[in-house]
Amino acid sequence: MADGEISRTRQPYSGPVFTARIDRRDYKYRDEMINRLMYTYKSGIAQIDQISGGFDAGTNILILAPPMSLGDQLAYALTRPLTGEYAIILSTNERAAEVVDAFKLAGADKRFTGVIDAITKSSTPTIVDTPRLMFVSSPTDLTGIGIKFSNMIETIFEGDFSDGEAGLFPPPIRFCVNSISTLLMYRRLEVLYQFLHVLTAKLKKIEGVGVYLLNSESFDEKTLSLIKQLMTCVIEIKVEQNVNFLRIRGITGVSGDWIKFQVTKGQVVILP
């Protein structure tokens, strides 16, 4: 192999195996990239990262959060792409520009952040897709959401996503739905369950990680229980006297105790 050329595969990987060509001068994280065979996504939450190194590839995480909590900020913090990673946000309640701004403020590189916007098109029907910003007509349009999701993944794999900048390959992809609650307002639970079933399975296939936000107070136990079935782990949030607590369920070795936290500039800060 020529100098400055890096070949790396992640195992187990069911799809095709690719070789990435990266200029050593431009890539500072070569050793880290070579050493990691099975990709692990850092969560930024010490309780998780110290025990398991982060989220395993293929993990789907449900964030159950009441209104006026830090649920959405936590979801974005877990989705923020680290160096070499990519993020895709399916936005059902914010315009793409707002999502991009939120990620920028959290320190994310916008060249590695894509948004599927289900809001803007209803008011601006002529809006045009770009590789990183794609638009569907409304949150009811599951056909469009599925297609844009596939298209964005394809764009990332083909290297046309980040203005020529190279991330890791195969690409580690963080995906966020901001929120399932909005989708549930428009589509029946059974339909959404089937749709999310396909989506979570695709995330596993590409060894991505999925973060799904759901309002814990607006839906009955049956709804919550059905959605939980699709997930690998659940992070519950509660608010007491204006303090946010989180509790992690479903990660071996990680305590299920309530922990005080806040989110500052896209970083999860655990409070004493």
Binding site: P16, K121, P125, T126, G146, R187, Q194
Partner: protein, 390 residues
């Protein structure tokens, strides 16, 4: 007949969709198949059919923009005889009618009125939300009510549906609702991300076998894609000449022989856009020492062409051995009997006998230097691929 706008698919169907049919374009989540509906709509409008489009999840403006962007400049939804029921209509129906029965009545009334006023002959329906709201039977009853508005004329109904239930739902469309044509559009992450293909699941008007074909979207069109046709045969039979004359673009990796000629040592590669199919040709070396390469060449092939030198009966056993490798893979193949313009060629019967093949395998006497001859072999093989039931 209503064209799907996809020439390759029309050919598989026998020139298109018969008037009055019930058609389902079933999309798997993520499959990039919305262009099938749009291109069929465009063809129906171009043929002067009065069309109604029902899309309950978006507005007319957004739909027009999406359709134009997907299909390019060919589709002008402002000029054709087309009428719409959109998300705003759905909202109004929801507000004006409380119960599901009342909403169904309101949908029927609107559809019948539009069919009557605009003499609609084809209805295009984005079916998901109607299916979710009313269930399969009632939703279809609503759409079938178009017949009454059309004054007894048989209206063609074409649905696009996001199928989250898989094969059992397709069965219901075919068995319970007597749909005439069901096309499943699917996607996979293999062999590459967003690999799309369609499957002809059912046609009521002809014995078209269940057959899947990959497709690509390019220049606003659905282009069926044959990712690999292997061109093989004994050494010096004319495979490289065949590939180069068949292809729009071709390359051969040869080695100079001691007699001044050249022989293929790795592969011939050719690409062509032909009869609306996007086809890639892989030519194999013919010498026996390259036989270990044959299984990987054939692994994902959809068809094979065995080129033989029709003046050399002594090479037939070698060709027979190659055919046995192809038959193990159960892929469609044809024989191109090359050098037919030379003296001393074998007859088709002698070739069949020598190769031990039946009448079902086509044998084409050709000269690989003539494009017309080469294309006749390809035409036959593509027909076999699209109709070959494996």
């Amino acid at each position: 007949m209503i064209s799907t706008g996809v020439n390759g698919l029309d050919e598989m169907l026998g020139r298109g969709i018969p008037q009055g049919s019930r058609v389902l374009y079933s999309l798997e989540p993520g499959a990039n198949g919305q262009l099938f509906m749009i291109s069929t709509l465009s063809c129906a409008l171009a043929r002067g059919h009065s069309c109604m489009v029902i899309f309950p999840n978006t507005t007319v403006d957004a739909y027009r923009n999406d359709a134009a962007r997907m299909y390019g400049a060919h589709l002008d939804l402002t000029s054709g005889p087309v009428t719409f029921l959109d998300a705003i209509d759905r909202e109004r129906i929801g507000k004006s009618a409380g119960s599901a029965e009342a909403r169904a009545r309101e949908w029927k009334a609107r559809i019948q009125k539009l069919c009557h006023d605009h003499k609609v002959t084809v209805i295009f329906v984005y079916f998901d939300l109607l299916y979710e709201e009313f269930g399969l039977e009632t939703a279809m009853e609503i759409l079938e009510s178009a017949q009454e508005g059309a004054g007894g004329m048989k209206v063609t109904i074409i649905l696009e549906h996001l199928n989250l239930e898989g094969a059992p739902l397709l069965e219901r469309f075919i068995r319970d609702l007597s749909f005439d044509f069901v096309l499943a559009i699917r996607s996979s992450f293999r062999p590459f991300p967003n690999f799309n293909y369609f499957t002809l699941v059912h046609t009521s008007w002809g014995p078209v076998p269940v057959r899947s074909l990959p497709f690509i979207i390019a220049e606003g069109r659905v282009i069926p894609y044959i990712p690999r046709i292997v061109v093989t045969g004994p050494a010096n039979s004319g495979k490289s000449t065949f590939v180069m004359n068949a292809a729009d673009e071709g390359h051969s990796i040869d080695r100079q022989e001691s007699d001044g000629g050249s022989t293929t040592v790795a592969l011939d590669f050719g690409w062509l856009r032909w009869k609306d199919f996007d086809i890639t040709l892989y030519g194999t070396p013919g010498h026996t020492r390259f036989d270990p390469l044959m299984p990987p060449y054939l692994r994902h092939a959809m068809g094979a062409i065995v080129v033989i030198d029709a003046t050399k009966p002594e090479m037939l056993p070698r060709a027979r051995h190659i055919i046995s490798m192809i038959e193990k893979r159960r892929i469609a193949y044809a024989i191109a009997a090359n050098k037919n313009d030379m003296p001393g060629v074998m007859s088709a019967g002698e070739i069949r006998e020598g190769l031990g093949i039946g009448e079902d395998i086509p044998v084409f006497p050709i000269s690989a230097t003539k494009k017309a001859d080469v294309h006749s072999v390809l035409e036959s093989l593509v027909a076999s691929i699209t109709q070959f039931s494996n």
